[in-house]
């Protein structure tokens, strides 16, 4: 489907960006002597698509890792849904409504597409080990309820044909889609996507863009994404943060950021795709 038509529909939807969903304040992250993030602050508003861009090694993935709780910054605060987040483990953060995909696909290779996406619902499943051991009854009912939700995601992502296939053997583009499905299954408030279109051909990129827009539109999910393809970023995002060598050098609407001389310098000064 035509991207521009999609985009027009997307914009004419007239989505109002809501209040602040997540805010990072003065984040500084060091690895030994390397400062991967230097005093970074920005916010993500409810319902928007927020892009994080920058040259290789700028600190984009590090930023996502801070937000999802993998890296613990030496300085700074993360505020989520109006509260300052205390230090916690990534699995606790997941339960607060945060899901993500990885720059290098991190699927469960030995499991089928269906089981991979079902893991996205683990935090919502309650039946204890004794019910599970019995299976018949509450455990099965719970399993079926979540299976129905997962089947809707499978339909949405158009991956019905690979439902029972082990994901390890799937082509790259489909793996990226399954990984998106797993994150969606968790019904996150905030979805973080680390280069969802890296290594895809034009057609696959268009499909993925469409899915991202639809997720944002239909489910109202707030999305923060890292992307290198400037065309895609301009089309998809409401607002853009630009990082370079761990510093923030731009923040604003796509057109605004594109006109920013410092951003242009950063991109011209670095060998880039």
């Amino acid at each position: 489907m035509n991207m521009d038509a999609q985009l027009a529909a997307h914009l004419s939807g007239g989505r109002q960006a809501g209040g602040t969903l997540l805010e990072v304040k003065n984040i500084t992250l060091r690895f030994g002597g390397v400062e991967a993030l230097k005093n970074i602050s920005f916010d993500i508003r409810e319902g928007e698509i927020r892009a994080i861009i920058g040259p290789n090694g700028a600190g984009k993935s590090s930023m996502l890792n801070v937000i999802s709780g993998f890296y613990h910054p030496q300085e700074g605060e993360v505020w989520f849904r109006g509260e300052k987040r205390r230090p916690m483990r990534p699995h606790q953060i997941a339960r607060q409504g945060l899901a993500r995909t990885f720059q290098n696909i991190a699927l469960f290779k030995g499991m089928s597409t269906l089981d991979n996406i079902m893991t996205g619902r683990l935090t919502m499943m309650r039946r204890n080990m004794l019910w599970q051991a019995l299976w018949k009854g509450p455990a099965e009912a719970e399993e079926i309820a979540h299976r129905e939700a997962v089947e809707r995601i499978i339909d949405f992502l158009e991956i019905q044909h690979i439902r029972k296939k082990p994901v390890g053997a799937l082509p790259y583009g489909l793996q990226k889609r399954v990984e998106l499905g797993r994150a969606l299954a968790a019904e996150p408030k905030l979805l973080l996507l680390d280069e969802p279109m890296a290594g895809m051909n034009v057609e696959e990129k268009e499909d993925m863009s469409r899915f991202i827009l639809d997720v944002n539109d239909e489910f109202g999910t707030t999305i923060a994404l890292i992307e290198h393809d400037m065309g895609v970023v301009m089309d998809l995002s409401d607002r853009v943060v630009v990082l370079d060598y761990g510093r923030k050098i731009g923040d604003g609407a796509p057109a605004e950021v594109r006109a920013n001389p410092e951003v242009i310098d950063a991109y011209l000064g670095v060998a880039h795709e």
């Binding site: 993998f70 030995g110 683990l122 935090t123 080990m129 599970q132 051991a133 299976w135 099965e140 399993e143």
Partner: protein, 358 residues
């Protein structure tokens, strides 16, 4: 009847999530159960009981246990022998302290005690992985065997240091001690394997099984999607040790009746169960059974052919056996890490599309 899933459409997710989604598999399983429960007890003799069926059943239970931990949750363990010893000594203490306790409860309680011990020794897995975890479990193996040798309370201060099972009953029928019937001990072990085999399958196909496999395949992503690694790993150690503990209890009380800890539950026992899941198939229930059957039957087969058939010495047959196992392990690790279970699946796949080549 032709083996097909065509025409066998699933109309509900409940159908699709069955243990045996294909109708023929279900019939085959029920037929096997009918033979195992209704026919075999009438035919079984001492030889089949002590040399083939009981060892197979007991080792199948242990293999399911280790497969849960290693095959499904990805945590390597060389402590199987030690955990079997915990099950055996728990059973011994329970049998002697509570003579009227039904043996089925003795075995289950022994499993529960072993589960506690297993979780304790599983704690290092929260910090260390792979090779280092294997070494830590190896330490558990040696420590447990040492402990049961060292502290006389465990073997009730017997002069030999051995533990010997007195006569005890399950549902009014003697299943341990000197005067047991083959059909009784067989049915007792079979019931455990079938019941707890189904329970394992139920755990594996739901939430808990998925959290184990997620930790195995990619622990970082598992944590990000909400799996608590502490709960997942410790529950795997607990459930795994529960099965291994029950296997140890049955091994001591029902299969042999008397054991010496170092001999029965030494490091060799750990390796033996490890071989079963490698040959049978890591991360496969079917593999646990195929592996246990294979490792129990191969030595008997070799002995029959080489010693009785070709009149070669027993020592030589033993030598061939060890070499064969070594070669098989290497072959499977390199060529087919999913073991016999995968070969079995390939045969079934061929059958399903037969007579067409694709």
């Amino acid at each position: 009847m032709i083996y097909r899933e065509t025409g066998d459409f699933k109309t509900s997710y409940a159908d699709d999530q069955q243990i045996f989604p294909i109708a023929q598999d279900r019939f085959a399983f029920l037929a096997l159960m009918a033979v195992a429960f209704l026919v075999v007890p009438f035919l079984i003799d001492d030889y089949w009981e002590k040399s083939i069926l009981l060892p197979f059943l007991v080792y199948a239970l242990a293999a399911i246990g280790l497969n849960i931990l290693t095959g499904y949750c990805g945590q390597v363990s060389l402590g199987t022998g030690g955990f079997m010893a915990v099950g055996a000594y728990s059973a011994y203490k329970l049998m002697t302290a509570f003579p009227s306790l039904d043996m089925s409860l003795v075995v289950i309680t022994s499993g529960l005690i072993t589960a506690m011990v297993g979780m304790l020794f599983g704690l290092p897995s929260l910090r260390i992985k792979g090779f280092y975890l294997a070494v830590a479990t190896l330490a558990a193996q040696f420590f447990l065997v040492w402990l049961f040798n060292k502290i006389p309370w465990f073997y009730n201060y017997s002069a030999t240091g051995q533990i010997t099972a007195p006569e005890r009953f399950a549902f009014g029928v003697p299943v341990t001690g000197p005067a047991t019937d083959p059909w009784a001990t067989y049915l007792f072990c079979l019931a455990f394997v079938v019941l707890f085999g189904l329970i394992a399958k139920n755990l594996l196909r739901g939430r808990i099984g998925r959290s184990w496999m997620a930790i195995r395949d990619m622990d970082i992503a598992a944590e990000i999607i909400g799996v608590d690694p502490l709960k997942a790993k410790l529950s795997a150690f607990g459930v795994s040790s529960f099965y291994i503990g029950m296997a140890g209890a049955l091994y001591f009380a029902v299969l042999f009746g008397a054991v010496e800890v170092g001999e029965a539950f030494g490091i060799n026992a750990s390796f033996e169960v490890m071989f079963m899941i490698i040959i049978g198939g890591l991360g496969s229930m079917m593999g646990s059974f195929l592996g246990a059957g294979f490792v129990v039957l191969l030595p008997i087969l070799l002995k029959t052919v080489l010693v009785d058939g070709f009149d070669l010495g027993t020592a030589f047959a033993k030598y061939i056996e060890i070499t064969a196992f070594g070669a098989l392990i290497i072959t499977f690790l390199i060529a087919e890490p999913h073991g016999l279970a995968r070969l079995w699946a390939i045969v079934k796949e061929r059958l399903r599309i037969w007579p067409f080549p694709h």
